[in-house]
């Protein structure tokens, strides 16, 4: 199979890579670019652990081909903190202990960031529906929901 040459933007940086035509963007991020924050849970778009933002849309990177990123804007969990300063969502996930094993956490954070960008003041129900594409087998979700609510109020005040 001939490789596909891709020029794209990841977390604000211009990036070039070569990938196979059937290679997912998740595999490109993890195995070629060393961005291992996005996780592979199911690989079929059910669990949300590989969530990224592609041109302002929340998507599962396991359901995007690496070749499709050409000319587009990719945001991953690695772009969320500003240097050593955590994003309010990251800070609140820590404070509320909204994670245990941590595998689902990058996906939840990216999905929650997208949710708050589109709806800065969500109800609990909107948070639960908005994050329904992210599965967590440890927390039972309550702490995650509370962390997102808390982060939303901090971000509104900022």
């Amino acid at each position: 199979m001939a490789g596909v040459a891709v020029t794209t933007t990841i977390n604000g940086d211009a990036i070039e890579y070569l990938c196979q035509p059937d290679e997912t963007l998740l595999d490109v991020l993890r195995d070629r670019l060393g961005l291992t924050g996005a996780k592979e849970g199911c690989g079929t778009g059910d669990c949300g652990a590989c969530s990224i933002i592609l041109d302002d849309r929340l998507v599962c990177s396991c359901l995007v081909l690496g070749a499709e990123a050409e000319g587009r804007r990719v945001e991953t969990i690695e772009g969320m903190a500003q240097g050593d300063t955590l994003h309010p969502l990251q800070q609140k996930f820590l404070e509320h202990a909204a994670l245990q094993c941590g595998i689902c956490t990058p996906g939840f954070l990216v999905a929650a960031k997208d949710l708050l960008a589109k709806n800065p003041d969500p109800t609990e129900e909107e948070i639960r529906f908005g994050l329904a594409g992210n599965l967590c087998r440890c927390t039972g979700y309550d702490k995650i929901v509370r962390a997102v609510q808390d982060a939303a109020s901090v971000m509104k005040g900022a």
Partner: protein
């Protein structure tokens, strides 16, 4: 395997028609990539249609709406005019998958995946939607219900691409609705579903109706007898009971782990009644 991203529909059609092996069209990829991952399909050629001019747009024309084949379902939900004119179609499209899947999946893909349980298809059939098909022989417009022919199979010929789904301009006093039954609260595959589309006269009497059922046969069912029950009525209790009976009778479901034949028949009637009641209210009926 080759991946290409043509800029024109003619080029895409030419590449598909001229391909020697298995070719796949890629829009949102939420079905295709899962099938590739599972080893169910190994295309020799992937034609990404998202760079084709106009395919990522919803256009409002004098005739109605044209929804490009590469428009993600999330965008349907953000289109105020479309939501106002065809709330049932939009609510069906918005039921597919999660937020993440919504950002990618398309109603054209949902149609061409040809699952009997596809959420947007009964709503589109009830709406009388048409598909604009481009192929080596030119353009043709066909009713959406003639696209899926069996689970996983479509009537499209080699080289043909659906470029857009077309919805008519709304007549006054019209409304549509879509409902599905799933055992969870979200992110599941329909066990039974129903789409209803109505237009009323000045007195609130149903003038025209279309009723479609999903997941109760090999393809979506357009139940003409159910529409006849509704026409001329104001959706009184007796009419709704007759509607439920006709819909239950029209089902040709299978027994599987998600639902029995008996359950599917009963629920099809219940959902048709409820969807008809919502469509009637949306059309301004009292």
């Amino acid at each position: 395997m080759r991946y290409i991203r043509p800029l024109s529909i003619e080029d895409a059609v030419g590449q598909l028609a001229g391909s020697a092996g298995t070719a796949a069209i890629l829009a949102g990829g939420s079905d295709l990539l899962v099938r590739m991952k599972g080893g169910f399909v190994e295309p020799d050629l992937i034609v990404d249609i998202k760079a084709i001019d106009g395919l990522s747009e919803i256009r409002e024309t004098a005739e109605g709406f044209s929804i490009g084949a590469a428009v993600p379902c999330a965008v349907l939900g953000e289109n105020v005019a479309l939501k106002k004119a065809w709330p049932g179609v939009v609510e069906a499209a918005k039921l597919i998958g999660s937020k993440q899947v919504q950002g990618r999946c398309t109603i054209t893909g949902n149609l061409c995946n040809a699952s009997p349980a596809a959420d947007s298809v009964p709503a589109l059939v009830a709406a009388g939607a048409r598909a604009s098909v481009v192929g080596p022989a030119g353009r043709r417009t066909i009713p959406v219900q003639s696209v899926p022919t069996a689970p996983g199979k479509t009537s499209l010929a080699k080289g043909e691409i659906i470029e857009a789904i077309l919805l008519d301009k709304r007549a006054p006093r019209s409304g549509d609705a879509y409902l599905r039954f799933i055992p969870r609260t979200e992110m599941d595959i329909a066990v039974v579903s129903a789409g209803v589309n109505l237009t009323l006269d000045e007195h609130g009497v149903v003038k025209s109706a279309r009723v479609a059922l999903g997941a109760v046969a090999a393809t979506v069912l357009l139940v003409e007898e159910a529409a006849e029950v509704l026409i001329g009525s104001k959706l009184d209790e007796a009419t709704l009971e007759r509607l439920a009976k006709v819909c239950s009778g029209a089902c040709r479901p299978i027994d599987d782990k998600r639902g029995t034949i008996e359950f599917r028949r009963k629920v099809a009637g219940v959902l048709a009644k409820r969807a008809a009641t919502t469509a009637y209210a949306r059309a301004g009926g009292k």
